[in-house]
Structures are given as structure tokens and as C-alpha cells.
Amino acid sequence: MFDVLSRMLRTGILTEPLPTPAKPPHAETLQNNLWKILGRALCIRHVDAGSCNGCELEIQALNNPYYNLEGAGIKFVASPRHADLLLVTGPVSVNMEEALKRTYNAIPEPKLVIAVGDCGACGGVFGQSYASRGGIASVIPVHRTISGCPPDPAAILLGILEAVRNMRSEV
């Protein structure tokens, strides 16, 4: 136990400022904005619609101490019925088309959809074929895309934050 505690103390707080293009970032400001818009934390449901699993690794990294997504009042939830935002990766494989549509439909209105990665944005190296429908927008409505192969966590975080900032107008 001593080792665990001393390691926590030695490591300290690593969380970095949130990325924003113009304004100085503040987790507190963001939390306040979320509170004004939603009245609670932003809940995200992620769906892998056929990804190579590269984007998943970078989305998982959002919860590491450097990005500390939960510290900004944003959390991943297990059920689409608890979600405000759907984060989708991959080209949509034909085998995942139905599951993606059902997940989308299960999210209560108002809802936001962000397509993550080059595949999510336009199909990437997989494009459209007998097995792939291409980008997410060919199956469900998409509000924002975050390109990259895979996009790094800061880019994903920025995409989520911008989507939240524009939430009123976008939804």
C-alpha cells in the first residue's frame, strides 16, 4: 500500500490543458458549458462499425491521465440510451450496418454523431466494396468528422469539444 501511495504522490497530476484552437483552455469552463447545455456530464457511446482497431486505441487513450477526459466532464457510457454523442470508427462493414443503425436509433434526441478516422470520414483504404459501405455518413447522419489514421487523442478531444461548443446550433 505504501508503494501504491508513494507512486501516486511521485507521479503527481499529469493532466494537460485541453486543446482549443483559439481560446485558452480550461477544464472548468468546459464543465460549465456542458452544465449550461446539458445540465450534466456529456455521455459518449462508441461504436466500432468495422475499424481496424487503430482508432479504438487512440480513443482509449483519452482516458489516460494526460488527456483525462472524465476530468473535463465527459464520460463513456455502456448503453446508447444513456448517450448524447455517438462516436463511430471504421468504414461501415456490411456486417455491422444493422447494428450501427440500431445503436443510432437507440440514442435519445437530441444526439450528435462524430465519425472518427479516415475510414469513418470517407472509407479510408477500405472504401466501398461488397463488404464495406465506406464512410459513416453513408449509413447514418454525421455532424462532424475527425480525420487521421488514426487521429491522435488530442485531435479526437478537440473534435469532441468543438462539437459540444456548437451543440446548440448543430443539434
Partner: protein
């Protein structure tokens, strides 16, 4: 032992490890499988090809790993109306799903009773076989859902829990059907194939020199292993020898990939055992390593680092010190965290005995890679079939015998230290010189194999060249194919709430399997 024809008729096959090719008839196809099984060979992969345009037949290939070499057995199927071949699943159970996948893509079948589609979930008609040459892989079809009967378990109080394809977390899609009594799992049946993206067909539209980009995206967490395997296959068919520096940089990248994945898994395993502290610290270390990757290799994930003939960018000289410090820091931190894991009663209580895959079963079912090594199956291509530069760095075999979650955790810890040692060796001998040479266009109709020990296990690319620098057929194989069925056994008798922990301890690729 081996039938006589196997000794005399085999020819050398271009590959980064010693490989042979054996063309057999229908009867010998099965004899070869049985002979190889008796000599202790393991099945690496199985794939088919449509060669009706060339010599009016279909072909089926099986690649086996022997103690000192690899063998590809090839059978030409002359009956193109109802093409069939004998199943090899009695000797190699891992072939079952691969044979079903071959049927879905090519329409060549075995006599096996389980004819349920594996990769085709109604997304294209059952009369369309996408890998056939007369099928345009670009055409889209509406999804028409088909029933997929799971084996039902009957009895007092038995009920089913259906999980997926969408799972409750940031993970890949797949379906698990549990038959349970109370909390106890009586049976698990997996259904995969949800992320099938038609990779094999896509390869056929790419020039040889660009195939590694797609290979790297077969399973993103194994991008280095797949892109290296692809390049190794291409380079061996063209007899290209990469510069020594490029080869060492590839190995450095491969070990970084292993380190990053093991660090991520160790954190996630701690978290699944209720020890969030582990996730915090291991995910911090993983992030540090990825940031180092960005400085050293130009990207956090090395999707496009390995290119045909070498690597995309040279290691900046200023990075040597950075890497040495990174390795030292990782070594110290992981040593400390390992002691915490080892001494934490709550964590060990969850790890030990959970999801046990004993040695006999692992051996019989053909476990491979990290999963195999945790169940006492001694196989690591870097040790048994060392290719450049592993042939001069003496990698050590890491093994555990208990086959439970704890064993898979310990293998990861030990492999981190061995990887760090290898990284230091590669970094120290990094000579000067170029990091890429030009790979000439390969002659048409040549088969080459690339076989690399990725962090999960062997990753293989079988590349058949076409005319004018095109790809005629390319088969990518992830070791997840072999290891997925093993989870159905490892979970037996465990409780449903332990499934996430057990599944994570294997951490197999869905995308790598689905293709």
C-alpha cells in the same frame, strides 16, 4: 511419420524463414496433414485461390509450422463446378473456422457438417463468392439477415445471455452467446466476422509496392507486424536484401509495438480486476512510449513506417539518448508496478485460476503466440525461426505453464523486459547507411511468404504476384484465428462477470480475424 512423397517433392519457397512448398493431390492433401500433425507441426493458416483463368482449377493452401521450417501444402482442385477438398480439422481443429471462411469467399467446401457461414452475415448473396475472379468486388448488395443457429444447451435453469456485436466499451464488435446456470458458464459460442472488410479482394487492386499500407490496417494494433510480413513476402519473391540498418529499425518498431500493447493490456487487466491504479499507471507509460514513437518514428502508431525495401524515415541521431532514457524509465517503472501487482491480494485473487487453458488442451487445439506461451506451448518465431535481425540477437523464450489469466499477465511482464533488452541491442548496433532500397517488380505468378512474430503471435502474409507489378492474390493471417476458439474452452466453469477479464487476458483481434 511423414509419407515419402513429402520428402522428395517439396521445393523451396521464398520467405523470410526457411520454407518449402509441396504440391499434392486430393488424397495426399489429407495424408500430408496427418503426417505433419504426427511430427508435431502446427497449422499456421489456410487459404484458397481462384486460378480458373490460369489453369482451370481452384487451389487450396495450408501453411504449417515445423520445428525448423515452414511448409505450404498446395492442392489444385480440378472440379470447378462443385469444388471440394478434404477437411483437415480432425488433425488441426483450428482449421474449422478457416475452412468456413474459405467457402464464404471462394465457394470451395469440405465435407464438414457445420456449413454455417462465418464471414458472410447476409451482406452479400450466398451465390456470390467475392474472391472469385469473375466477381466484381465493388458491387454492393442489400443486407438480408439470415438465421444463425447457435448450439442450444438444455436443462433445468439453463438460460442464454447474448452479448454483442456492439459491446459496452471502446472495443471491437463480435457476438458471444453464453449458456449459463446462475452465474456459471456452461458453454460459450462465439460468432465473429462483423468487421469483415474484404481485405483479400482489395489487395488484388493494389500495386505490389503499396500492399503494405493495406496490410498494416488488417489489425491496427499489429500494424508493424503485418506491414513487415507483407514487405518480407514481397522482398523474398524478388530476392531483395534490405539494408542492415532498415532491418534493425523494423525490429525496433516491432518491439515498440509489443511494448505498447503489453503496457496497455497490463493496465486494462488491472482495471478489469478492480484495480484502477494499474490502468492509470500503465496507460501513462503507454502514452509516454507512443509520444516517443512520434518523435523517433514520426507517428504514434506506425501504420506507414515499414515500406517495401526498408523503412520510411531514418532514426534522427538526437533520438538515441531519448530512447535509452525511455527504456531505462520503463524498466524501472514496470519493475515497481509488477511488484505491486504481484503483492496485491485482491488482484491476484482475480487473476489466479481464472480462464485456465491447460497445456494439453492448448497443445491439442493448436494454441499459438502469447496465448500458447502462457499455457506451456513453447513457440515464438523470434526464437525458433529467427529471421534478420533476430538471428543475431538471441531472443529468449518467455513461458508460463499455468495457462490462467495470471500466466498471461506474467508472460506480458517478462516479454516487456525481454523486449527492452532487444531494443537496446538493436539500438546499440545501429550502423550507419541507407534505410531503404528499391525493390524491383516481381515476376508474375510467384508465391512468397512473410512470417513475423507480432505481439499476439505469428502474423503471416502469403503473396502471389501478378503481371506488371500487380498483386494476384494476397492472404493475410492473424494468430487470433487459432486462439479465438480457445476462449470458448477457457471460460468453461468460470462465472460470467469474469469474462471481460479472461477475454482481455487473451486480447485477440476481431479485425485481424475478420479480414
Amino acid at each position: 511419420m511423414w509419407p515419402e512423397f513429402m520428402e522428395h517433392r517439396r521445393t523451396r519457397l521464398p520467405s523470410n524463414i526457411e520454407s518449402h512448398r509441396l504440391c499434392v493431390d486430393r488424397e495426399q492433401w489429407l495424408q500430408a496433414a496427418e503426417g505433419l500433425h504426427e511430427s508435431g507441426a502446427r497449422l499456421l493458416t489456410l487459404w484458397g485461390a481462384d486460378d480458373r483463368d490460369r489453369d482451370r482449377c481452384f487451389r487450396i493452401y495450408a501453411a504449417y509450422l515445423l520445428p525448423k521450417s515452414m511448409m505450404v501444402v498446395e492442392h489444385a482442385i480440378a472440379d470447378t463446378t462443385i469444388p471440394t477438398y478434404p477437411s483437415i480439422a480432425s488433425a488441426f481443429p483450428a482449421a474449422l473456422r478457416m475452412q468456413r471462411a474459405v467457402y464464404d469467399l471462394l465457394g470451395i467446401s469440405t465435407e464438414e457438417a457445420d456449413t454455417r457461414a462465418w464471414l458472410r452475415h447476409g451482406g452479400w448473396p450466398e451465390t456470390v463468392f467475392p474472391l472469385r475472379r469473375d466477381v466484381d468486388g465493388k458491387q454492393q448488395y442489400p443486407v438480408i439477415a439470415e438465421p444463425y443457429p447457435f448450439l442450444a444447451v438444455e436443462g433445468d435453469g439453463v438460460h442464454e445471455i447474448a452479448v454483442g456485436p456492439v459491446h459496452a466499451g471502446t472495443i471491437e464488435p463480435g457476438h458471444f452467446r453464453f449458456s449459463v446456470v446462475g452465474e456459471k458458464v456452461l458453454r460459450l459460442e462465439e460468432r465473429l466476422g462483423y468487421t469483415h472488410k474484404g481485405v483479400a479482394k482489395l489487395f488484388e487492386n493494389l500495386p505490389q509496392q503499396e500492399g503494405q499500407r493495406l496490410a498494416a490496417r488488417v489489425s491496427g494494433d499489429s500494424a508493424v507486424a503485418f506491414s513487415w510480413a507483407y514487405c518480407a513476402a514481397l522482398e523474398s519473391t524478388t530476392s531483395t536484401t534490405c539494408p542492415a540498418k532498415a532491418i534493425k529499425l523494423r525490429a525496433l518498431a516491432l518491439e515498440h509495438e509489443r511494448l505498447a500493447n503489453h503496457l496497455g493490456d497490463l493496465g486494462a487487466l488491472g482495471n478489469d480486476a478492480g484495480f484502477a491504479f494499474g490502468l492509470t499507471h500503465f496507460s501513462r507509460l503507454k502514452e509516454d512510449l507512443l509520444r516517443t514513437n512520434a518523435q523517433v518514428f514520426g507517428a504514434r502508431y506506425l501504420m506507414d513506417y515499414i515500406v517495401s525495401g526498408g523503412v520510411a524515415i531514418d532514426l534522427p541521431d538526437r533520438c538515441r539518448g531519448l530512447l535509452s532514457r525511455q527504456y531505462l524509465n520503463l524498466e524501472q517503472e514496470v519493475t515497481g508496478l509488477r511488484a505491486i501487482y504481484d503483492e496485491h491480494a485482491g488482484v491476484q485473487d482475480r487473476f489466479r485460476d481464472a480462464g485456465r487453458l491447460d497445456h494439453d488442451l492448448a497443445q491439442r487445439l493448436g494454441a499459438i503466440g502469447l496465448t500458447g506461451r502462457a499455457s506451456g506451448v513453447a513457440c515464438d518465431l523470434r526464437v525458433d525461426h529467427p529471421w534478420r535481425p533476430y538471428d543475431s540477437s538471441q531472443p529468449k523464450l518467455v513461458m508460463q505453464t499455468s495457462g490462467d489469466v495470471a500466466a498471461r499477465v506474467q508472460v506480458r511482464f517478462d516479454e516487456i523486459f525481454e523486449s527492452l533488452r532487444l531494443c537496446r541491442v538493436f539500438l546499440e548496433d545501429l550502423s550507419s547507411g541507407s534505410v531503404q532500397i528499391v525493390v524491383p517488380l516481381a515476376e508474375p505468378n510467384r508465391l512468397g511468404i512473410g512470417l513475423i512474430e507480432g505481439w499476439r503471435g505469428p502474423v503471416m502474409i502469403a503473396l502471389e504476384t501478378g503481371t506488371n507489378g500487380s498483386i494476384r492474390r494476397c492472404h493475410a493471417h492473424d494468430s487470433s484465428w487459432q486462439n479465438w476458439p480457445l476462449i470458448e474452452y477457457a471460460i468453461l466453469g468460470n462465472i460470467v462477470p469474469d469474462f471481460p477479464l479472461i477475454n482481455k487476458s487473451f486480447n485477440l483481434s476481431y479485425s485481424g480475424q475478420d479480414g
